[in-house]
Structure formats: structure tokens, C-alpha cells
Symmetry: C2
Subunit: 441 residues, 2 copies
Amino acid sequence: MTVLLINAWVATVDDSLSQHNPGWVQIDGTTITALGSGAPPMIENAEIIDCGGDIVMPGMVNTHCHMGMSVFRGLAEDVDDRLYRYILPLERAFVTPEMVRIGSALSALEMIEAGVTTVADMYYFETEVGHVVAQAGLRAIVGQTLADFNPPDHASFVEGFARVEELVALFAGHPLVTASIAPHAPYSTGRAVMEQVAQWSDAHPANPVQMHLAESQLEVDWARKTHAQSTVAVTRDAGLLKPNLICAHCLQLEDADIAMMSEHQVCVATNPRSNGKAGRGIAPVEKLRNAGLPVGIGSDGAMSGNTLDLFSQLAPVSMFAKLLGGSRKPLPAVDVVRMATIEGARVLNLNLKTGSLEPGKQADMIRISLASPRLHPIYDPYSMLVFAAGPSDVTDVMVAGRWLKRAGVVQTLDPHQVLRDAMQIAEKFKAEMVRIDGATP
Amino acid sequence: MTVLLINAWVATVDDSLSQHNPGWVQIDGTTITALGSGAPPMIENAEIIDCGGDIVMPGMVNTHCHMGMSVFRGLAEDVDDRLYRYILPLERAFVTPEMVRIGSALSALEMIEAGVTTVADMYYFETEVGHVVAQAGLRAIVGQTLADFNPPDHASFVEGFARVEELVALFAGHPLVTASIAPHAPYSTGRAVMEQVAQWSDAHPANPVQMHLAESQLEVDWARKTHAQSTVAVTRDAGLLKPNLICAHCLQLEDADIAMMSEHQVCVATNPRSNGKAGRGIAPVEKLRNAGLPVGIGSDGAMSGNTLDLFSQLAPVSMFAKLLGGSRKPLPAVDVVRMATIEGARVLNLNLKTGSLEPGKQADMIRISLASPRLHPIYDPYSMLVFAAGPSDVTDVMVAGRWLKRAGVVQTLDPHQVLRDAMQIAEKFKAEMVRIDGATP
């Protein structure tokens, strides 16, 4: 069956930033087979969809997320010691396969609503996340986290690696879901285990590695104190700096660290709202990109960044780069759109499949309504997307030729059930928060 | 006629931050007459509106805007010399009463859609802005700009003052629209004319003064070079630092400037997205508030900040303060909501009329749908409003008891006509941009 989108403003985000307006896109099965300007081809029995001048563009790629955590969204906002006071106790008490399933479903629903078609996730009980994204129809990297702080799903690294193996076996050959190994961070994994992860990774080249890197002063201090070098250097010496490493955050970097990362061709996921809200600083995105590193955009978990769409992140990515550079010029809007699509796909090593609209690529695309007055006039569609559009402007979402959202309605999840489950579990957390606050002098 | 909103999550933003959930609000004519929790009063012939658990809160107060400029939205994005290369030539060639009317209508439409109920504007041909906001039903301060750079509507300050007088006469006694005088900035007005404005203001205590202050390095350098003091000190010596002065931007401030502003009890409008996009720095909002100054939030014009709703500004206001402070603690979400409502009203000297839901105040309120998955769970409604909600979540908007938006539909403007006019005028600008770029070597 052929689907033909016509009368669209097609923003391909290909290498030459081709736009077709009015344009058309032909989809056969899971794949984009043709696209162009002017008169669309005549194809018998094709389903023809008139886009009424709306933008059709690649689906967005969220390069760093903790989907299970959406049930903690906005909890303990503005509190500096929230990690130790609330998050870790709550995670130990409440993170179960069921909680991860419920949180991941809420996250999948939100991302589909907002035009995210690919997500890289790392959390606990990650097989549950894999089941949810597979059902929801999202393209995903699902990473089992490994950490030494007695996390909810493994009491030892041996148990953690066993969970990784289970995840890999479960999604081997899956068309949309790729298993990943996710050492939490250098300080919470330790150099010996990072070496083990590097060896595991050499034996599993198709499974990306995800890790928080250079996120906090605490981590920088740990590396200096324990290894007398930077946290990036520790990671390099463990053998983990490789093209299939997705480094999240990357705030606390010296120029020498960026050079190391560039030499080893790692990939970066920047999380502007999460970092900005924590007051932790601004990632040197321009420097990283100028050093040749692909930088994608991530939402982080909803307890840190609140929303999982990428629209919320686009203006912050741009503003932060301009504030660092002291000028309007750094990171123009078109580069921000690239980061949210094709460059994010490159970060996840999925750029041959997704991230731009080109014949032969998977049909991962979104339609954006231009009905809202806040979107007009449009002198530059990239400026409009970065600084004016929002998640509510996304009307249709397709992944691999399958509609996940159609004419404003999510097709693969039951929104009422998902919301009901999330709100029910939140009541338990509220009670626990009251208990913690009561117990705290 | 009485209107009774029932089954609402009423966030009053009054001094004690009272919430009523489920709660009700009674409106008689233009005024809130009662509100509370539990069973609503029985009132014969009242129109009863069941809010289905949605948030009902004060309408937002946009404390700095150039409504006419929305037809320039996103034009010449990411270009450092845009002011002299594009904006000033375009303004000289195209800013006419018609253009201001069309741009202001687009802005009014966008703000009503997004839950802004009060706006402080400054631009040219400001009587046109006044007519538009009056028709749209917005509460507004409309400021006639005075400047020395040959602006589109006055060749001399004498002509400029004449325009101010015309504006004041036109809106004398208007229930919603207040005329204002708006010296553009210290460097573009000059000390002698600032003194004239101060004298005019003494004679017109009900008409606020709006001015860009300490916005750029250029301005700081001008003050040092011309007057050997800070731009704030120049403004003070001209007699302009007074409680009815609304200072927009306030980026380049020394501690001594903040002390001066505090001593003279001026008001501040911070414009985070506009400032962030220009790479100009972060306003010291915490310091200003700690010095006792009320700080409201502004969108600036759509050529600088792109959108005119306040939701887009809330997370940036918070993130910028946390980045400046290096911690999660500065400017908690509840303070950001205050700034967007009651504190903004105080900046405009309208806090006895609007900015919170309290008996006796004008019925300026908005309803926010909680249907979107990105808004759940809700542990703290202020966190939800600042970090997750967006302009599209606003379903109903009331100003002084009149519905400007009802069940998702704007009542006082014709959206199709407004958009058509704006897109038509944009075509002229596009042609002029091509001409400018062609003429530039």
C-alpha cells in the first residue's frame, strides 16, 4: 500500500537542506520511496493525504531520556538536595517493573503527541521500557543501567550484566528497538567495571553504550581525587571512548577533554533544560560541534527536565549557545533543527535509517499544523520551528510507515488508561514525600 | 448577570497563595465577587460553568511588548547586525498606521489565545495599538515611543510629545486602556529630553513611563562616555527614576545601580528569551527582587522574542536565575508564577485591579486544560505551570468579566482576517529583504 502526502511544506533536513513547498512524499510500506516538488506522481490505489500546506519534516530524535521517571515529573522542584533526600529513597522504595512500565507508557504517549519518533532511554528494568516502546511503535535505543549505589534492579554488577544480556536477547533482530548497555556514570560505575563494559561493547558492536559524562562538579572532583585526571580521561583509559558511546550532559569539560572526545569520535547528548534547571552550567555545544562531534538533544528524565518533547529544548539549546558566545550568531536555528533530527540520529548511529526525509530511508516523519497565529509570518521555517512552534502543533506522527498519531489522535496507546495508571501511582509517592518530610528534622 | 465557575482548581496567586481544589469563582459584571472551596453558592439565574477540574488562575501580565512588530516575527534570525541592516530600514520604509494595526491585531490574537490578559506596549503610531487592544478586550498600557533616530512617526521630539498628548486624550477614562509615555532608551532620548519626560510625568501621575534601560553594552558605554556615570545614574539625574517607571531589560547593572533603582522604587520588566537570543546576558532578577523591586515578565517584540505568550518565558526566567546562582534554589516555580501575574500587575501599577483572583478585583482570569499527558502527574501546580504547560493549554480567557476566548475560540477578533492581513504585509517585507541583501556587498 502506497501513502502519498501532498500539498505539504516538506522540510527534508537532508545534507543540502532541500525544501519542497508545495511538495509531496511517497511512502511504500516502511520506507520513503520518493519525494519532490510540483505535481505528485499518479499512483493507483495510493492513499492520498492533503496536508493543506502544513510542514512535513523528519520525526525528532530524543537522544537522552529516562522514560520510567515521568511518574516523578516535577517532584521536589527547586530543592538542591533532592537526589539524596527524595529521588534515591523513592527509587529504592517504588521502582518496580510495574512502575517502569507505567512511567514509560506515559513518556511514550507524551513523545508521540509531541513528534518524537526516536528515543534513547536508560533506566532500570529496561526490558519493560523495551516492551512499551515496541507496543507504542517508537524507534528506540533501550539501555540497562549499571550502577554501584544499590539501584532498584541489581544488587551487584554481575546481576546488572545479566539484565543487559536478557535485554539484548529479548530485542535481538527487532526492527525498531535496539538494546544498549548504560554504565550510569564514571563515579558510580568505577574504572574496573568501565573496562568490563568496554570489553562487552567490543563483543557487541551493534549495541550502543550510554553514559552520563562530565555532568557535575562532584564527578570532576571524584576523578581528580581518585585518578588524578579528568573524568573524560578516566573514561578514555577504561577504553570506553568510542564512536558508539553516547555521552549525556558533558557540562564540565576542559578543552583537552573535548580534544580527547573528538579523537575518539564519541557522540554527545545535550540536555539544556535539565542542566539549566539544576543551575549546573551550560554545555559547550558550539565547541563540541566545531570539534567534529555530533551533538543531539535530550530531554533527560521528567523529574529533571519535566517535558520529553524536543520543542521545549530547542530555544534553550540556541539561547545557551548565544549566551556562552555573547552574540546572536552561535548555533543558528537551522543547526538546532539539524541537532533535533539528523544529527541526533547520527548520535544514535541510526542516521542511515532516520533523521531526514530521503528516498530509501524509513518513513519516520511528523506533520506540523501552521494554524496557530504564533507561527506567522514565516520568514524562515527553521526559526519558526525553534522559537515559536510547540508540541501541540504536531498533528500526525509516523514511524516506519505506521501512524502513531493521526489527525491529532494517538493510535497505539490508550491515553486515558495511561494517565489513570500514572496518576494512581503518583498518589503513593505523595504519601511517601509527606513521610520523608515529616521524618526530616 | 452572575457567572459561576465550579469544579475548578482555583490558584488565586493571592498573598497567601490560597488554592481551592475543587473550588468555585463567582463573577458579577466585571468583578470577582466571591470564591472558595467546597459547595458553590446557589444563585438564581447564574450561568454555571463546570471546569472539570481544570486550573483557573489569574490572566498573565506581559510587562513589555512591541505589538506592532509581530509582522517581523523571526525575520533576520541569528544575524548580529540585524538592527541597522534590517530593522531600522524596514521600520522607516514600512511602519505605517496600517502596519501597526495589522501587527497589533496579530499580537492581540496570539496573546488572547495564550492567556495573556494584560499587556504593556510601546511602539509607534500607538493610538492604533490602543484601538486594537480596546477592540480585542485586553487590559493594556499603551506607550507612545520617543526617540532621536528618525523613527517612523515623529521627526522631532515636539512631534513625539504631540503624539503622546493625542494618545492621552484618546484613552482618558477608558476602563481598560491606559496611555503611557515611552522614551526609547537613555542613549536614544538624551538627558535633556529625559528631563522633559520627567516633568511631563509629574503632571500626569496616572500615565506610566516605559523605557528600555541598561539593555546593552553600547548603552553603558554611551553613558560612561557622555556623562561619566552609569546609564541608571543618568536616568536618576534626569529625574526619571520613579515608582511609575517601568524599566525593560535591565541586564547591565552594577550593584550601585540596583541600590539606586531600589531607593527610587522603580519597576522592572525582564525579557529572558529576547535577551537570551541576543546573547546579551542574564538579568539579575534575584538581586532585583531581593532589593525589593517588583519584577514582571515581558515578551519583548516578536522580532526579538518570537512569541508573545508568557509560558515560553517562564522556564527561561527560572533557568537563567538558577544558572546565575549555580543552584536549583533561586527563583522557585511559585515565584515565577507570581512574576507572571500579581507581580507583573504591580509593575504596571494595576495590582489593585488585576493579577490575582480575589473578591473585589476585576475578573481577569484564564482556564488551563489538564488534558495533555505532559502535565501529569502534578505534585505542585506551580512547577507544572512553569515547566510543562504551554500556550495551547489555555482554553478560556476572561478580562473584566468579558470572554475573550471561550471553549478554545477567540471571541473578539476574526483569526482568519488577522492572519491573512499579516501574511500579506509580510510578502512586502520579504521583497525588501531580498533588495537589501542584493544591495549589500
